[in-house]
């Protein structure tokens, strides 16, 4: 019974934890512009994140080593450092976007300008990172994030023709008036939103924080293979309601309120309130995860003590990095830069940085020295090699596409 509870809790947390500001903005934006013609990109990203997270989780459970610990070990100190700098910048950019997302969500709830919410959000984040236990922090935000199921309810209440929706997904057709390059630029954005590197830093470091062993492999896999697909289903619901309500009215998404608008149309004020609660929980949870991931990656590269399973004094440098990252990210949000724009760039840069950490994990998960009998099976290796190609192609294509389309204009 206790076991069943733990498994259910893990899955629910994975669903709520899957969606962050990147998924909210990108799915709303793409749904309003491209309908469901880009759902395939979310699905490709979903398979990718499942493979990547399963490998990292297995490596963490079997060897007790988290992702960045191994990145340096496989790539050496020089390439590892370059990798650390790139990954840290992308995670920091995502952290900035999430803090902006919390403030924007609070603005939706209160009509008080988001900039006034930023310091409060930062203070609350810092307190949570400093004092709240890892499991409480992970479960709390994940469970509250389930409020986003309201997007599924809204989709159902809009009484769409599900047959025609499914047809749009299976036979993707670029809408007239959108360029081919723009179409593929947003495909990469959706791919990056689903497959953000911090999710894996957090997942594998969390495995070490919670002292996973080989016995926990089953639970970890279940979280990934059940929780993530359900989380991706939520993302697709966000795109679908935008396609149904916003696209026919030619409303383009350039703020968070427009992402929630279809829910208000379908379910009224109460639905909107639940959606906003989901936004706050999802962005707050993701801000915790990205903030910790900033600390995890630096501490793991240098071999410092990290994690919330020890007293802050025993992991002094880790907590210092987390604190400085928070101050820096908050400072960037306070420059009045548009958080939605930051989010749009953060998902594309996530796709660009992905090969840097994916490749070392793929190598380690095949290394018997670390993994013993738990090395990748043939199917996993075949799939993850195909994904290595996809990830590299997406990363290489992202910057030229960004320049040619002026970031999707």
């Amino acid at each position: 019974m206790k076991n069943l509870f733990a498994i259910t809790l893990g899955i629910l947390t994975a669903i709520g934890g899957f969606v962050d500001i990147g998924d909210l903005v990108t799915n709303g934006l793409v749904g309003a512009r491209f309908g469901l013609s880009l759902v395939w990109a979310t699905l490709v990203g979903l398979i990718g994140i499942c493979l990547y997270a399963e490998m990292s989780g297995r490596v963490a459970a079997v060897s007790g080593r988290a992702t960045f610990d191994l990145v340096r070990e496989r790539l050496g100190p020089r390439a590892g450092l370059a990798n650390l700098v790139a990954s840290f910048l992308v995670t920091g950019l995502t952290f900035t976007a999430e803090i902006g997302g919390i403030a924007l969500s609070l603005e939706l709830a209160s009509s008080v300008n988001y900039l006034l919410w930023v310091p409060l959000a930062a203070l609350l984040l810092w307190f949570t990172l400093w004092r709240v236990k890892f499991t409480a922090l992970e479960n709390g935000s994940g469970l509250l994030g389930l409020a986003l199921v309201v997007f599924g309810v809204a989709l159902w209440q809009l009484h769409p023709d599900f047959g025609s929706l499914a047809h749009q997904v299976v036979h993707p057709h670029k809408p007239a008036g959108e360029g081919t390059l723009t179409y593929f630029y947003y495909a990469i954005a959706l791919f990056g939103a689903a497959m953000t590197p911090y999710e894996v830093f957090f997942f594998s470091s969390g495995g070490v924080e919670e002292h996973w062993s080989r016995k926990d492999l089953f639970t970890a896999r279940l979280n990934v293979f059940v929780g993530f697909p359900l989380g991706a289903a939520l993302s697709i619901c966000i795109a679908a309601v935008a396609a149904l309500v916003l696209k026919p009215a030619s409303i383009s998404v350039d703020n968070l309120g427009q992402v929630a608008l279809p829910v208000a149309v379908a379910l009224g004020k109460l639905g909107l309130a639940v959606a906003i609660l989901g936004f706050v929980a999802a962005t707050f949870g993701a801000a915790l995860e990205t903030g910790l991931s900033c600390g995890y990656s630096v501490a793991q590269y240098f071999g410092w003590q990290w994690g919330k399973f020890v007293r802050p004094r025993e992991a002094a440098r880790f907590h210092l990095v987390v604190l400085l990252s928070l101050i820096l990210a908050t400072g960037v949000v306070l420059t009045t830069i548009d958080p939605v724009t930051v989010t749009e760039y953060s998902v594309v840069f996530s796709a660009i940085a992905l090969p840097l950490t994916y490749f070392p994990i793929l190598v380690i998960s095949n290394d018997r020295d670390y993994m013993g009998d738990h090395v990748n099976g043939r199917l996993t290796n075949a799939l993850s090699s195909v994904f290595l190609v996809i990830i590299v192609v997406a990363a290489v294509a992202a910057i030229p596409l960004m320049l040619l389309t002026k970031a999707g204009q």
Binding site: R65, W130, W304
Partner: protein, 130 residues
């Protein structure tokens, strides 16, 4: 490596360098930033110590960045670079396990400084999370 721990022959690049070092209680100490090698009587090279810190790491990062790290670090330093003698290594697996306490090794002066001047001054730093 003949005297410690069981005279194993290792590919240093693959099995020792950049590995996580863990103390007797499982606390993380540092990475194997570099190694101290000394020739034995038979002419073979033996690993005598794990070298730790920016001066050891800088020489392996190399290039202009590596020299820059080393020059900054040696300007700050008053003592020789921290080292952990191989006699303190108990096991080499996915981590290098020591039979010593992290606090007794004195390999992380920066950590002590950050702890004393910043982290310990924030309320709640001595307690586990709740």
């Amino acid at each position: 490596m003949s005297d410690q721990p069981a005279g194993r022959v290792l590919d240093l690049n693959l099995h020792l360098l950049d590995r996580q070092v863990v103390d007797t209680e499982g606390l993380l100490v540092c990475k194997v930033d570099d190694l101290e090698l000394e020739p034995g009587e038979n002419g073979a090279l033996y690993v005598t110590a794990i070298l730790v810190g920016p001066r050891a790491l800088g020489s392996r990062i190399g290039g202009r960045l590596g020299r820059w790290i080393m020059s900054i670090a040696s300007r700050q330093a008053t003592t020789p670079p921290p080292r952990i003698d191989m006699s303190r290594v108990r096991a080499i697996a996915s981590a290098v396990t020591l039979d010593a306490h992290r606090a007794d090794l004195g390999v992380a002066p920066l950590d002590d400084w950050v702890d004393r001047h910043i982290i310990s001054r924030i309320p709640g730093s001595r307690h586990e999370s709740e």
